[in-house]
């Protein structure tokens, strides 16, 4: 277990975290008091009034208006406090400040992609500056997903054909987990991304270089990097074993059987088509679940992935 958080909660890395935790611990302490009253009362009565005891049994009361009013009023007051506290904070968590950086989040089976204001994009890594509000405009390409960053205490469902919004302001640089929390099938528990919080300067530099990724690398090396960073790895292995999709090992210049019974030779064009229009030809024995990367990968990136697949003999 990570030891940096409190007993129950994970570490606090956003401006909300401390506020949510205050409410959490308030409820926890109040509940503990109630729980203690019930359990100690129960144990005390059970022992004190156990059957067969020496003292004679006298009939206890079956009513006590004062007592009944008290044990209705006190919990009522308490829950009203908790309600208002929770609601006020919730509103704050739902209204992003005007000057927030806006990042587009797309969830699909089973990875996250992020589009930044200057045109840069990433997969399974959300890059943000520290100390600046960030607004997330989110939607899904297939089923409902859930966007959850425990260390920031934010969560929002990501729904097809509609936008949902959440925001946060990170208080510390570092790398944090981002989970999918709405069950979405086989890869649900692999749909984990990283949130990378950087210093402001570092973030500006990253934004600029983000659009020029892969420079100074061989095409195949760049492809190997994209294979992981663009989440091909969640569905494709490179060691010859099948995952959700077929392995890339040794497919180049080999025949592959398609679901309609025909076969096709794997060449550059077939790979390109598989990436940009995956439903066009379905490999036999697999489900047509590969998402299209049209608009996610640029030409250079498709070239790089193709070059990489060619190296996997």
């Amino acid at each position: 277990m990570d030891t940096t958080g409190t007993l129950f909660m994970p570490p606090q890395h956003s401006t909300f975290a401390g506020q949510v935790d205050s409410l959490f611990y308030f409820i926890l302490y109040a509940s503990t008091v109630f729980f203690a009253i019930v359990v100690f009362g129960m144990i005390f009565f059970a022992v004190r009034y156990r059957r067969g005891r020496k003292q004679p049994v006298e009939a206890g009361p079956s009513h006590n208006t004062a007592l009944e009013i008290i044990w209705t009023i006190i919990p009522t007051v308490l829950v009203v406090i908790v309600f208002f506290w929770g609601f006020k904070l919730f509103l704050k968590m739902n209204v992003p400040p005007k000057d927030a950086i806006e990042i587009k989040v797309t969830g699909q089976k089973w990875f996250w992609s992020f589009d930044y204001p200057n045109g840069a994009s990433t997969v399974n890594e959300l890059d943000v500056p520290v100390g600046k509000p960030v607004k997330l405009l989110m939607s899904s390409r297939d089923v409902i997903h859930g966007f959850f960053i425990p260390d920031f205490r934010i969560k929002m469902d990501v729904v097809p054909n509609r936008y949902t919004i959440t925001w946060f302001e990170a208080t510390q640089t570092g790398t944090f987990n981002l989970f999918c929390t709405q069950y979405c099938g086989k890869g649900h528990s692999e749909m984990i991304a990283k949130v990378k919080v950087m210093g402001e300067r570092e973030y500006e530099d990253w934004l600029v270089s983000g659009t020029k990724a892969g420079e100074g690398m061989s095409l195949a090396d760049f492809g190997a990097k994209l294979y992981v960073s663009k989440a091909c790895a969640t569905c494709h292995n490179v060691d010859g074993t099948a995952n959700v999709g077929p392995s890339f090992k040794g497919i180049f210049e080999h025949q592959v059987k398609l679901s309609d019974g025909s076969s096709v030779m794997v060449d550059e064009n077939y790979i390109r088509e598989s990436i940009l229009d995956p439903q066009a030809k379905i490999v036999a024995g697999y489900q047509p679940v590969m998402p299209t990367f049209q608009g996610v990968l640029n030409d250079r990136e498709v070239d790089a992935l193709t070059a990489y697949i060619k190296t996997l003999k």
Partner: protein, 537 residues
Amino acid sequence: MEAVPERSYLNEPKGWKSWVFTLDHKRIGLMYLFSIMASFLLGGIFALLIRLELLHIGGKHIMGAETYNQVFTLHGAIMIFLFIIPSIPAALGNFVLPQMLGAKDVAFPRLNLASFYIYVFGAFFAVYSMMSNAADTGWTFYTPYSTTTNTAVISMTLGVFILGFSSIFTGLNFIVTVHKLRLPGMTWYKMPLFVWGLYATAIIQVLATPVLGITLILLILERLFGIGIFDPAMGGDPILYQHFFWFYSHPAVYIMILPGMAIISELIPVFAHRKIFGYKAIAYSSLAIAFVSFLVWGHHMFVSGQSQYAAMIFSFLTFVVAIPSGIKVFNWLATLYKGSISFATPMLYAFSFLFLFTIGGLTGMFLGALATDVHLHDTYFVVAHFHYVMMGGTVMAFLGGLHYWWPKMWGRMYNEFWGKVSAVLVFLGFNITFFTQFILGAKGMPRRYYNYLDQYQPLHAYSTYGSWILALGFIIMAVYLIHSIFKGKKASGNPWGGLTLEWTNSSPPPPENFIETPVLKYGPYDYDKLPAEKLNS
């Protein structure tokens, strides 16, 4: 103490046909009992498989991700639709309710039998789904996942649709029975609280279940014909499905817990030999819960994208519905005061219930409060919370009731020593399994994960060890209960000193329940009218 009866509902009439076509509510109750226990066993095995897979990180220990998704779906669907919902009303309620009212049977015995066979028929579809290519949607069947996955969603939802009718028929039967078949002189306020609880439950069953039926039919039509009601590409709305679903399924939480509370309201006064504290408060809080439970469904959807103002209202009403449950807990506690408290097995379950249900209810506050729910929603915290309510609450109460009425059902006692051992093991195992999950969830562990990050491993391991203790407790229970049917000590008509009418006949009761029309000598909890010596032994 009357002698063991020669003729009882168990041996008269004879022959398998007399069981299969029986109209006797007691026999139907028993047949339900066997069916739900079989379901409980199946659902329990799935639960153990889930915990075993999660013992270590990495997955692929005993099953793959797709199988895992099917297994947790089956676990949830079986436990909820085939076990908990019918458990107390259809099995124990069927057996006890008419006896408590001094009636010969329920109002519509044929409908009662039909309800049982509809249950079997619905279960058949669910099992068919399991055998073919089990649904992998989770028991909530959220769209668009459920409309696009290639597993057997239709047979599962059709099964649940059919089971709904069984539930409606039972509820309808109980409502009419309570109104029409009470013994003359048994006014509403002289009814046992178990009857009040089942009555409130029946109202929800009759009013809410049709909505689930309609929702599931829409889901099936969507899958078969693509009608588009939940499909955003055709102008439909997947969130609408969630509204429909929870409009039933939140009240359904109370279909599950109200009967549990109702049993506790019997056990505590009987085993404390003490008049119940606040009879009317308990009775009316059941009705209040039943009513408000229809208005809180949106608290399952605080982060679904519904409007913040809707969320506010749902959050507020959620806190409103918490109050009557709290009042009940205080009433039960006050009933112990100056009682004469026995530690017989059913009472151990009542103590377990008080302990666990209080945790279940209080942790609901974290989820009802909007800001904390954002963090906790869809994590193990929610899993732990509803297991404390459903298993720590309803199942503990069910087990308490089962042990309480067991001698009435069979005319035999189970072994008290093993009963206590198993009650303690179940209590310990339950807490080890599920308390750890509160911490897991608060630390951020999402639910329905086949694999997880290394930092969560120790707590997952404790949870799995706990499930083994729990299993051991249940195995012991199965052994001594089955043993007692054949070899148990003979039980008297009223082994616990209960004052409700089912304890005035013999154990097991005659087919017609009462040979002579019973007389209401005492109100259900009039222990204050008994001589004091009688109370302390």
